[in-house]
């Protein structure tokens, strides 16, 4: 039964971090190239536009949910299971979500990269 709790919490971490990453990526694409904007309008505008972007705020909220899900997961399961499982599944989930929601061109090169990194992270964090 504890395994069910642990895996539910891991899935909650993965879901919340993927939602957060996609929203943050979308927010920053809307803000535009930060370096160029800084040179043109100043740092205050960059910060104001980022913090005023609804996608950014929802993204940060999703990241907070992911963090608290991590705390729950760690209280039910071992860190040697939770950390690698959550990290590598988040890589895979992000690739799928970026393709669907951000219309990023996830070609064969990026799929191989994501799979290698996800496998490597699973081994390293385990």
């Amino acid at each position: 039964m504890k395994a069910v709790y642990t895996w539910s919490a891991i899935l909650a971490i993965v879901f919340a971090s993927v939602v957060g990453d996609v929203l943050l990526a979308r927010a920053m694409k809307q803000v535009g190239d930060v370096g160029a904007l800084w040179r043109r309008a100043g740092l205050g505008i960059v910060i104001g536009r980022t913090l005023g972007n609804p996608n950014f705020l929802f993204g940060v909220t999703a990241m907070a949910v992911a963090f608290f899900s991590l705390l729950f997961a760690l209280s039910w399961g071992d860190v040697s299971l939770v950390a690698p499982a959550a990290a590598s599944l988040t890589f895979i989930g992000n690739a799928v979500a970026a393709r669907i929601f951000l219309h990023e061109k996830v070609d064969r090169r990026r799929w191989i990269a994501v799979s290698l990194v996800a496998a490597g992270v699973a081994l390293l964090a385990g």
Binding site: D21, K29, G32, V34, E104, K105, V117, V121
Partner: protein
């Protein structure tokens, strides 16, 4: 991708790895905290390792947001996963911890993945085909509007037709 952008990606990698290790080091000094001892959280922040760790993680977040403003999520995430490798190397050569063969295999896989993604484009073409997208004041991507209206244009730009430009504001 100019030199400055590689510097930002390096910043994402190094700040995350350094911030995490400093937090971890500091939290081991302060001992475990719990909801019943919330004062422990305040003492934890007063620990210099924890304080510097938090500052580094803020720097990581700023660099991560900067990178996402000009590169794809599926480029930034694998490209900055070298942080895991960095942590393992610090554990082995600075802290003299034992790194098992399975972990060395993990390092090799991540490094290979980073090499793969770094060899490709950093941004999907439907953004790259429109370099002046950043100059729109309302923050909307004009090409996104254009591609929504004309799917054919979207297909062409996605396939990498290099000189498809939408002239003027939409």
């Amino acid at each position: 991708m100019d030199f400055r952008k590689y510097l930002v990606l390096a910043g994402v990698t190094v700040f995350a790895a350094a911030g995490d290790s400093m937090l971890s080091h500091g939290m081991k000094q302060t001992g475990s905290i719990s909801v019943h001892h919330l004062r422990g959280v305040i003492f934890a922040v007063l620990n210099p390792w924890v304080a510097v760790g938090i500052l580094l993680l803020l720097a990581f977040f700023a660099a991560y947001m900067t990178a996402l403003s000009w590169a794809d999520l599926t480029y930034v995430l694998p490209a900055t996963s070298l942080g895991y490798v960095l942590l393992a190397l610090v554990a082995r050569f600075v802290l003299h911890e034992h790194v098992s063969p399975l972990r060395w295999l993990g390092i090799v896989l991540i490094t290979g993945g980073v090499g793969f993604v770094a060899g490709g484009p950093s941004l999907t073409e439907h953004h790259a085909a429109l370099p002046h997208a950043e100059h729109t004041e309302d923050g909307n991507d004009p090409l996104a509007v254009a591609t929504a209206k004309t799917p054919l244009l979207a297909k062409d730009t996605r396939n990498g037709a290099p000189h498809v430009r939408v002239t003027g504001r939409l």
